[in-house]
């Protein structure tokens, strides 16, 4: 207790002066430091308050170039970008570094991979197939760093970047190195553009492969190699085939597959059955001719919930043709889509097979809740696919008189690009859907008044006129 009082008594003016100058000096010094550090008008560095994981998250969503640019902001930011887990070498950025010749891109990718550290989630690059020598090395690097998502897009010198999604016939295709499939054990999704799959050496113990999503765009493969994918990736859930060339007869057998989309596929002989795809939830067959992909309609397919169908270039949709054929053969057991909830299709109103097929599919889908019909009218509409002959013209009474079934659970029905010749669909469906809530119409030549006069099974149908922004993306 005596110490502080002694201290007070010993206080002299000299000492007080010293203390004061020290104190003021330190304040002035602090001020200076403050000014040096924070020249901004409204004070402190805003980014330094952000927690580390948040900074990582922001860097992960920035384009790679912008992420690398942060290395120059200040010392604190020097190494932040090196932990990013998504590497997207995007070519389509208008003033991108990648518009330069391909070799530069190769050195950029090499250099970025050599600087960064830690595990990597996503790798996306677009490069010329002629200078793809480094790809093998990158794939090894990715396999060793726990890669989960890979997209490799190859294109040809003569293809402009904007043409990436057009097929280039006759170009040399990049061949994926054979070690790739056996070394990338952590991979969850894989997208390949414009390349060739050769023999895939899957090891005998295959259960460790975790691939869930596979997207093949313009990929060439033999049927044996293609089928070995399903053997090698037993956990596959989503498969997209876009403009692929697969030689020979193919069957897709995958126990876990939930979503299958096949678009514009050529010279393929593929049959889809419910036995080989017991878990299929969503099926999209778009721009498909009936001799390329056929759906076996001789049994029930209870897992199927969503379907999207369209034919190719004016030719009818394969599934509808098959369904129409079912209606012709009296002895064939009726196929059923007992689980089908949502159906979306392109219809050529003058094609007899598609008209009959649609009615058949509706009759086989008693639990349908959502229906979307996109009307298409082109010159070749009434061609029969198999024979490339004109099919018989649509007989409206034949369509109206076939077995429609009752659409007990249908709630929402949209019809797009409707003309007067498609009123028969609306008439047929309105009369058989007691629970219908909304009818959305986008007109092309037909009028609302005609629809208002049609008899309805449901007491409260709201008829909505769709705007062009509501149209489905096909």
């Amino acid at each position: 207790m005596s110490k502080p009082s002694g201290y007070v008594t010993e206080l002299t003016p000299f000492k007080v002066g010293c203390v004061l100058t020290c104190f003021l000096g330190s304040i002035i010094q602090q001020r200076r430091l403050y000014r040096q550090e924070m020249p901004g008008v409204c004070g402190h560095d805003l980014l330094s308050n952000l927690p580390g994981p948040l900074i990582e998250e922001i860097l992960n969503w920035l384009p790679l170039r912008d992420a690398v640019r942060t290395s120059i902001l200040s010392r604190a930011w020097r190494h932040h970008w090196k932990t990013i887990r998504r590497l997207d070498f995007d070519l389509r950025d208008p003033d991108s570094y990648l518009e330069k010749p391909g070799e530069l891109l190769l050195s950029v990718i090499d250099h970025v991979l050599s600087q960064r550290s830690g595990s990597i989630e996503e790798f996306d690059c677009r490069i010329f197939s002629e200078i793809s020598g480094n790809v093998g090395r990158w794939l090894l690097y990715l396999a060793n760093h726990g890669i989960q998502h890979i997209a490799l897009r190859f294109y040809h010198w003569s293809m402009r970047p904007t043409m990436c999604d057009r097929i280039f016939i006759g170009a040399t295709l990049f061949k994926l190195p054979s070690f790739f499939f056996s070394s990338c054990k952590t991979i969850v999704s894989l997208s390949l553009f414009h390349c060739e799959l050769e023999v895939i050496p899957f090891p005998s113990q295959i259960t460790s492969f975790s691939l869930r999503t596979l997207r093949l765009f313009q990929v060439q493969a033999s049927n044996k190699v293609f089928e070995s994918l399903f053997y090698g990736f037993p956990r596959l859930e989503k498969l997209v085939l876009y403009m692929c060339i697969i030689k020979g007869k193919v069957k897709i057998a995958s126990p876990c597959l939930r979503s299958l989309t096949i678009i514009d596929i050529h010279r393929v002989n593929m049959t889809l059955t419910s036995q080989q795809l017991p878990g299929l939830h969503k099926l999209g067959l778009r721009q498909i001719w009936d001799q390329d992909v056929s759906v076996a309609l001789h049994s029930e397919w209870p897992s199927l919930q969503k379907m999207k169908l369209s034919g190719s270039g004016g030719y009818p949709s394969s599934l509808l043709v098959a369904a129409a054929a079912c209606s012709q053969i009296k002895f064939s057991p009726l196929f059923r889509f007992n689980g089908l909830v949502s159906l979306s299709l392109v219809i050529h109103s003058t094609n007899r097979e598609e008209n009959l097929g649609l009615v058949q599919v509706l009759a086989g889908s008693p639990h349908l809740r959502r229906l979307e019909i996109i009307c298409s009218a082109r010159k070749r509409d009434n061609y029969c696919t198999k024979t490339r002959r004109r099919s018989a013209p649509v007989n409206e009474t034949e369509v109206m008189n076939s077995t429609w079934g009752v659409l007990k659970e249908l709630r929402s029905f949209d019809i797009v690009y409707m003309t007067d010749s498609e009123i028969k669909y609306v008439e047929g469906i309105l009369a058989r859907a007691p629970a219908l809530e909304t009818l959305g119409v986008y007109f092309k030549g037909a009028s609302l008044e005609a629809l208002n006069l049609l008899p309805r099974a449901s007491p409260n149908v709201k008829i909505l006129q769709l705007s062009s922004t509501d149209l489905p993306d096909w």
């Binding site: 308050n49 969503w61 640019r69 120059i72 570094y97």
Partner: protein, 177 residues
């Protein structure tokens, strides 16, 4: 009607001492608060120590809207693609006119309160603000001080020259020297 008047209220205190009273359902949008409320400390005022009143106001606005959206979509019972689009447009509108300092505080707040939706909106906004900008523009926007020597900066730029091409701000500085 009686149910709505008996709604449980929660009180939150911002770092600068302002107290906000909100419905429990609104507070529960924030996972951190939800956890606290479930551990039963509802009577006391919950201090949100790192969030200032204007920011907390914005956060509460977000939570209120979130409660409204979820209650309206549950009545129509088909959350289809159209409502998803609306939700996106709504998010953009919410973040419109938020300046850099508010954004940083919002990010810290939503991180602390663990509101995933708001955090994602904030990160998106941040990305769109930084994207395509040159380093000096970012420094000016967020008051970051360049503490590199000119030589160091030159060296780092050369390491990844492809990322710094055509930087108008950098050229200006070197020519003015």
């Amino acid at each position: 009607m009686s149910e709505s008047t008996e709604k449980k209220m929660v009180r939150l205190r911002s770092s600068d001492g302002e107290v906000f009273e909100v419905e429990e359902s609104v507070a529960k949008v924030a996972k951190t608060l939800q956890d606290m409320l479930e551990e039963d400390c509802a009577d006391a005022v919950i201090p949100i120590t790192c969030v200032r009143a204007p920011i907390l106001t914005k956060v509460i606005d977000y939570c209120k809207d979130q409660v409204m959206i979820s209650s309206s979509s549950s009545t129509t019972n088909n959350p289809n693609e159209r409502t998803e689009q609306e939700r996106k447009a709504w998010g953009q509108k919410f973040m419109e006119g938020v300046d850099s300092s508010t954004l940083c505080e919002l990010l810290v707040a939503s991180n602390f309160l663990n509101i995933e939706g708001l955090l994602n909106l904030g990160v998106d906004k941040m990305v769109s603000m930084i994207q395509g900008k040159y380093p000096q523009e970012i420094r000016d926007m967020f008051n970051v001080v360049n503490d590199f020597t000119p030589e160091e900066e030159e060296e780092i730029r050369n390491q990844n020259a492809w990322a710094f091409e055509r930087d108008p701000y950098y050229k200006k500085r070197s020519s003015s020297k």
